[in-house]
């Protein structure tokens, strides 16, 4: 039990992730930017991602306290730091995570006209996403108990957790209609490997001064945890010989043996004039239907406990103290009884919106180059990006200003300044380099915090290798 509480508190104060890829968005030298806007600009003729290495993304972060706040080796008592963290955080502080691994990807352009203006891209990637809000009232109850909190409600909705592992097979179509407008759409089939969701908890526990005794303890609980894909794995854990079967089962789920869902992305790029570009995308408009391997747990009940009256259980009634007491015990059992059901459920994918306004400038001097001029020969661009994502309690928002520059032929950088829930001074840097047909990119944010990574509110890293056949290198 105490290990559980420790784990709960420590993990709650640990890390968080976000799905904002402000560095990759609009970085059209990297083919994976098409996953953030299916209607984005395309600079290559065709490409394929190096399997398992084409896109590796991890993002961790937290609002409220940092790992350093709690675990700094500074001589201050650990429990003092832990308490400060608990009191410093609110129920809207969260800790969330996102990780992606592209297994396969590729794309090619085609078109009947002299210029190939249509593009097909496809791939398979695995994604892990989770968010947990800081369960403030639960933490305070564990820390203090109810003695100093008479009349204070401990609210169940502070407990809000969602986590899932999915694989996504996708196919995208992009069309450059003319010099001013490009659009794209991407269809997705989701296969949920595992899902946990407990985001609609309600009710409370409160101790108030009672009528007949010191206190009335009022329980009014409605908590539910839904899971899919976990029950069978947990059962399998009982025997070691089944680990091969588990691996086999997981592989099958990645390849569409899990709970299936459908979704799509849409996006466009609009060139307002030679130098100004506006683009936007809406990602993961979709759902997953959890029908297989579902196990839901529910605690629901109302009860007011004012103590027991063992001597005069019920005056005028023949009820014995024993019967009276077992009735109270039954009431408590009913209250905390975990109902397990296998009712299927649907989850909506977290919807993501990206939009940006960009200004390109600084054409490369003719004397430096012996290649042909093209419309996108600007060496620099700056812009503003907005990211929004639906989350259980409130949308997650981020505003980014960026500067993009081509340093050399085949080497581009992008630097970003982002304001979001985690911090107001997040500086990120991304680099994309081409060596022949091989493209390598790496990007990370929160550089100001890297001098002490444990104090960072969020850190993200993306990297990958592709083989690109570029239009410009014809």
């Amino acid at each position: 039990m105490r290990r559980f509480i420790l784990l709960f508190i420590v993990i709650s104060c640990h890390f968080s992730f976000s799905q904002n890829k402000q560095l990759l968005y609009g970085f059209s030298d990297i083919p994976q930017s098409l996953l953030l806007n299916p209607g984005g600009n395309i600079k290559n003729d065709w490409y394929f991602g190096i399997p398992l290495l084409s896109h590796i993304h991890a993002n961790v972060g937290i609002t409220g306290s940092t790992v350093y706040d709690i675990f700094a080796n500074d001589g201050i008592d650990f429990n003092t730091k832990l308490q400060n963290a608990v009191y410093g955080m609110g129920p809207r502080d969260f800790f969330n995570g996102n990780q992606q691994l592209e297994i396969l990807s590729g794309g090619f352009s085609f078109g009947s006209s002299y210029e190939k203006n249509e593009y097909i891209s496809f791939g398979l990637y695995q994604e892990l996403d989770f968010i947990t809000y800081f369960p403030k009232d639960f933490a305070v109850l564990a820390l203090e108990g109810n003695q100093n909190n008479i009349n204070r409600p401990f609210r169940a909705h502070h407990l809000s957790v969602a986590a899932e592992v999915i694989s996504v097979l996708h196919l995208g179509y992009n069309k450059k209609v003319n010099d001013h407008f490009t659009f794209g759409v991407r269809g997705k089939i989701y296969s949920s490997i595992a899902n946990i969701r407990s985001t609609k908890n309600q009710g409370r526990f409160i101790t108030v001064v009672g009528q007949n005794n010191f206190y009335d303890h009022i329980f009014n609980l409605d908590l539910e945890l839904r899971t899919s894909g976990l029950a069978s794995l947990i059962d399998d854990d009982d025997s070691d010989t089944n680990s091969d079967a588990v691996v086999k089962d997981l592989k099958r789920r990645i390849l569409f043996g899990g709970n299936l869902g459908l979704g799509f992305d849409i996006g466009f790029t609009r060139r307002l004039n030679e130098q100004w570009i506006w683009d936007a995308s809406l990602l993961d408009i979709g759902f997953i239907s959890h029908t297989k391997d579902v196990e839901n747990y529910k605690i629901e009940g109302d009860y007011v406990f004012e103590g027991i009256n063992p001597i005069f259980p019920d005056t005028g009634n023949v009820q014995t103290a024993e019967a009276y007491w077992s009735e109270i015990e039954d009431n408590f059992e009913d209250l905390f009884k975990l109902d397990t059901t296998t009712t299927k459920y649907i989850t909506w994918r977290p919807l993501k919106l990206n939009t940006s306004l960009n200004y390109a400038f600084g054409k490369k001097g003719y004397e430096d180059c012996n290649c042909t001029r093209s419309e996108n020969s600007y060496q620099n661009s700056i812009g503003l990006q907005l990211f929004a994502m639906s989350r259980p309690k409130q949308p997650q928002l981020a505003l980014t200003a960026y500067y993009y520059r081509r340093l050399f032929n085949g080497l581009q950088i992008k630097t970003t300044y982002t304001i979001d829930s985690y911090s107001a001074n997040n500086i990120g840097l991304g680099v994309s380099a081409n060596l022949g047909g091989l493209n390598f990119y790496i990007m990370a944010d929160n550089f100001l915090e890297l001098k002490n990574i444990y104090n960072a509110q969020s850190v993200s890293l993306q990297l990958g290798f592709n083989y690109i056949f570029n239009k410009n290198e014809d």
Binding site: I5, N73, N213, Y215, F305, P310, P313, A321, I453
Partner: protein, 187 residues
């Protein structure tokens, strides 16, 4: 040429940032010191009865005895983490007789592990006589509490004036338990 220098210095800065991020000293072993000390309070037993509740067929009842089986104190969480408990009683008596409540703590082999008695003075003029009692459980008595499976309550009226249907006044008892917990890796 100047442009090249600018470009190269950009590159150097990027590489520096990528490869030379670092950390300040962190000690995750501190988690071993984890300790929280919540104090929980819970209502316990209560009653509030007029004097004539002590009459059965117009005859005065000397004492009432009842028991409850309780598994709460041997719950693993309580056994591991409870470091002290107080049972707090508050009584009000407005009957012209004193009363006492005896509470016996019995284990699963019917042995009595602990007992205490609260005595309440009579009210001579019908006004409320207030008294309170705090029973502390620490050390041996705490160990006894953690082995308790049954509580026996015996309420007795003490000698004093007689009780009949017209006797005024009532006796009232409220109580709560205060559980001092210490949850951590080591206790």
């Amino acid at each position: 040429m100047q442009k090249q220098i600018v470009n190269y210095s950009f590159l150097v800065i990027i590489l520096y940032l990528i490869f030379f991020s670092c950390t300040k000293e962190i000690d995750f072993d501190q988690a071993d010191d984890f300790e929280i000390s919540p104090v929980m309070e819970s209502s316990l037993v209560f009653f509030d009865e007029p004097a004539n509740s002590f009459l059965l067929n117009n005859t005065e009842i000397i004492s009432i005895k009842d028991s409850i089986k309780i598994d709460f104190f041997n719950n693993e969480f309580i056994v591991d983490n409870l470091i002290k408990a107080d049972f707090v009683f508050e009584t009000t008596n407005s009957i012209n007789k004193g009363f006492q409540l005896q509470v016996d703590f019995i284990n699963d082999t019917e042995e009595q592990l602990h007992t205490f008695t609260i005595r309440v003075s009579p009210s001579s003029d019908g006004s409320d006589v207030l008294s309170n009692h705090v029973e502390e459980f620490e050390g041996d008595t705490l160990t006894a509490l953690k082995s308790t499976r049954k509580l026996v309550f015996t309420l007795s009226l003490l000698p004093g004036g007689p009780i009949d249907q017209t006797t005024r006044g009532r006796i009232k008892l409220e109580s709560k338990a205060v559980f001092y917990l210490n949850i951590g890796e080591e206790i």
